[in-house]
Symmetry: C2
Subunit: 218 residues, 2 copies
DNA sequence: TGCATTCCGTATCAATAGCTCCACAACGCG
DNA sequence: CGCGTTGTGGAGCTATTGATACGGAATGCA
């Protein structure tokens, strides 16, 4: 098994192959962490849910904290990718609308056990004492925010963004809405509700070509 | 001690008095829960931080889960009170501005060990398995949201709110921003940053008498 | 078929979890 | 003072925690 494992170059595997898919285990572990928090998820719960033993889990990930950390960073990449894709949109409205709606879609993925938004749930409340996950997430937000702010400052220069609002302030506000969306996703909002809210937010925060009162037909 | 204990009417205390202030203990416990999550906070940590023994803690609150539950409900009342005060404002802009700025102020209280916003942190990620705290918080959001929506529907009827946006949708969006603010408070935002963001959000979501581009002098 | 290597599950470790027991201390009342 | 009542801390209970030891099972290579 383990077809999808990343095995770069010359290091071909030796010894008994792993009986489970590491990436899949990581995703399912993240799902458990999201549901019960870090301390609330025991290694036995993880092993049981993954269908393996604790020794296999430890040999694959090292430590419970390391597994959590890896899960967080894995999913953090998804959100950074969404930011990167959004800033490529030609208009300010397009950037913000794309960012929020894509994130809303990502937050409500139910296939393959998507853990909602680790970034603003499990991480914030309960993290391994040895790891500064909160600091990592704050840094991630800062990094993604910097990318968005640069895009908005560029729009400010070209006149696409009215200078009255302020690129920095709008960036922070958009990120605030972004995190609010993730919270509501975990509180049980459906995808349609969440995407609709994202679209409305984009329309109000950065009015596009169409009037606010008459949202563009999707 | 225990001067501030609420002791209504005829039930005068009998037996040895409690050596600590129950309300204060509740607040400090909430602070710990906020920092480490429910499972991440042990009864010994709680007892140690409160300067008492675990037996005293158990005799005062019953169970770790009950203590957590009581802490959550106590702080939930604060947020409901903020909603109640906000909807009394005469204009839609005033309602939303008041709700968001007061909440931002509440989220950044550092005195007396305010636990940030339990509602969207510890609660969401890690809660006692026996208690449906997530359900309670969702219900609370629904209840507070209903109050806000009723106020906005009234404004819609009197013309204070343009019918194009929709009272229900705006309510949800405001609550989304509300939760986003609480998230950013926990990620380290200062009070000034948070209040400024709340004011900006109120200006964009519900433009007041002044133009959006020229925010009203505070 | 041997050998080296790696992963597997079972059993188990010390530490800590939530929680309780119990003898004693601090009150109001007579 | 004695008595009932209630809170007190220290010791201790069982269950579970994160993590490991170890023998066996799979693999690639010769």
């Amino acid at each position: 098994m383990d077809h999808s494992s990343y095995n770069p170059g010359m290091a071909r595997p030796v010894g008994r192959p792993r009986s489970f898919d590491r990436g899949d285990a990581l995703r399912r572990a993240a799902h458990l962490f999201w549901q019960h928090g870090f301390s609330g998820t025991s290694t036995r719960m993880l092993a049981s849910a993954l269908g393996i033993s604790t020794s296999s889990l430890y040999s694959a990930f090292g430590t419970k904290g390391a597994l959590f950390d890896e899960a967080v960073r894995t999913y953090a990449l998804r959100y950074s990718a969404i930011y990167a894709a959004a800033v490529a949109e030609p208009t300010v409205h397009g950037v913000i609308d794309r960012l929020l709606t894509d994130s809303a879609t990502e937050f409500t993925r139910t296939d393959e056990g998507h853990p909602g938004c680790l970034t603003s749930s499990a991480v914030m409340a309960d993290a391994p004492p040895t790891l500064d996950v909160r600091g990592y997430v704050a840094e991630l937000q800062r990094s993604d925010g910097a990318r968005l702010r640069a895009r908005l400052e560029q729009a400010e220069a070209t006149g696409d963004l009215p200078p009255a609002v302020g690129a920095a302030a709008l960036t922070e506000l958009v990120q605030t809405v972004w995190q609010g969306l993730s919270c509501r996703a975990e509180l049980g909002a459906t995808r349609d509700e969440l995407v609709g809210m994202a679209r409305l937010a984009a329309g109000l925060l950065a009015p596009g070509a169409h009037a606010v009162g008459a949202p563009a037909p999707r």
